[in-house]
Symmetry: C2
Amino acid sequence: MKRIIYTTYIIIISTITLVAQRPPAISSPDVHSDHSITFRYFSRNAKSVTLSGEFLSAPVALTKDTSGIWSVTVPPVKPDIYPYSFWVDSVQIADPNNAYIFANERFKRSIVDVPGDQPLIHSLQNVPHGKVSYRYYKSATLGTTRPLLIYTPPGFNANGKTKYPVLYLIHGGSDTEETWTKVGRANLIVDNLIAQGKAKPMIIVMPYGNVRPSPMPDFTKDVINDIIPFVEANYPVHKDSKHRAVAGFSVGGGQTLNIGLTNTDKFAYVCSYAPFTATDEFRQNFTNWTPNAKAMNKQLKLFTISVGTDDFLYESVQQNIAMFQEKKIKLKPLIVSGGHTWMNCKLFLANSLQQLFK
Amino acid sequence: MKRIIYTTYIIIISTITLVAQRPPAISSPDVHSDHSITFRYFSRNAKSVTLSGEFLSAPVALTKDTSGIWSVTVPPVKPDIYPYSFWVDSVQIADPNNAYIFANERFKRSIVDVPGDQPLIHSLQNVPHGKVSYRYYKSATLGTTRPLLIYTPPGFNANGKTKYPVLYLIHGGSDTEETWTKVGRANLIVDNLIAQGKAKPMIIVMPYGNVRPSPMPDFTKDVINDIIPFVEANYPVHKDSKHRAVAGFSVGGGQTLNIGLTNTDKFAYVCSYAPFTATDEFRQNFTNWTPNAKAMNKQLKLFTISVGTDDFLYESVQQNIAMFQEKKIKLKPLIVSGGHTWMNCKLFLANSLQQLFK
């Protein structure tokens, strides 16, 4: 009986398909239990379809069957969440059959989640879950209403007596306020670490960090003058530097250094991931910089810079680490393998979360 | 000085672009003050690029300049939010430079927001804003943890004495739990209507309505046995039928009829938008249906079916309206112009919201 109903359902869906003139429903990606993955794409007219993915060292070709469905199965990959895209002739596209999109303003890629044999730190596990709230705040600095995402931990009570520490977590350039949850799974990582007793319950604020056409220093002002006051007016949070952290990736990693190190009275935790620092703001802040290292090291409970050895910014990040060390600023580098990727972002975040507010 | 910094910023971004081997940053879409829109796409190799959009009666061609940027400006369109896509040779794609994606499992289209000269009902206005929370619940019916979105109105206090009515709002087939907010702007519509005193403050629950590979009747069970109990355990809500509504579009409009009309003890408000009803569940429920119309009409405070005259389901919806009327079920049809679109969804929702819980 179930089978009959299901067959009927398929016929119905096919009917919708015909009416709306959509391509046939195909399943892509299909992640197999051995961690191999099958990707599929429908096109009768394409001359070639290839797959690019951050789990591949080079693109691989899909082959077409007689019904116009192109497919390829890639050998087992290391469990993780990976961005990928198809190249259809000369056109790079997201996988039309995959709802999971890399949140970004400049490209459209899909993401594939390859689960581990044991749950990974970013997996949806059977633990209490926090909430991610989509909100708006008014930025007097930028003269507009802007979006931000706010994670509150399991058991959070907006009107309770418990006060929380806050992590301000910034995406990469051309990413959006959603990238840290949609691609980085920040909410699930912290859910899992809290459940394991490895992270303190905290609020995580994920703002939209791109400021256009204004220059980037405006974002530092926006965080200090608009976002933090909004959070503190609307959430039960501690307001001292020891309960406030800033972290970010790539352009957001550079913003993190600018925001955090010029405001050590406000942030005792500064976690910069693969920072992009070839910016006017960074030069203004850190060229001929003469910090009072002793005072700063007292204020900073954790200052970490993380990067992968294959990151295209690796050399630049190493130079910055050397610069800060030369100025006697206490710094915990985290150097891992891998490139300028969100696979590494998740790892960096999971590492930082276990050191915050302790 | 500002100019110099901005120029520097552009150079930096160009540097990132080169390093990451991305196409040049271009702005698309650009909505002009007269409601005309310029669309742009970069490709040196494409032979043709056309634009399809729900504001167009037929696709229009883009033309290429010497730098490989294709563009077209379409004449002023009626202010609204429209899905669109590019066809690059034979490949349909979302606009790579537009972060606003139509949340869907089967296609990737972008959306363009053409503001009105006066704010539209779905515009981000200077009014108090509710929150949209991304959450997980355990579905015993479906044996898995599933996502849902929950809108709470401005001033909501999870631990306060105020109890709220709840609208369960279901997306169309192949849409996702995000489509009602990302494309339908349900949160902004209700923010605006609450601010104008035209809608009651309410909670809106937006579940993920697709059930695969199981048949659709499972979703009715999931709503009744899993989602409603989750909401009632976690939010201060009224638990009687007069404070509970169900609404949905397309496949979700069919689900709405199945869920609502077989549970009038639980839902006094049933709002079905362009329902797709060629389903086994609908046939089982409503073929040879012999309702006690008098009792049902007493239970239902509002039963509405909405559809556009150009909707591909128009005839089918009219037949269903006739069927319900023949059974003497009191029904408020809302027949408007337009097709099976999210432009109409916003209109239908705005209409219903002003009639709920009054």
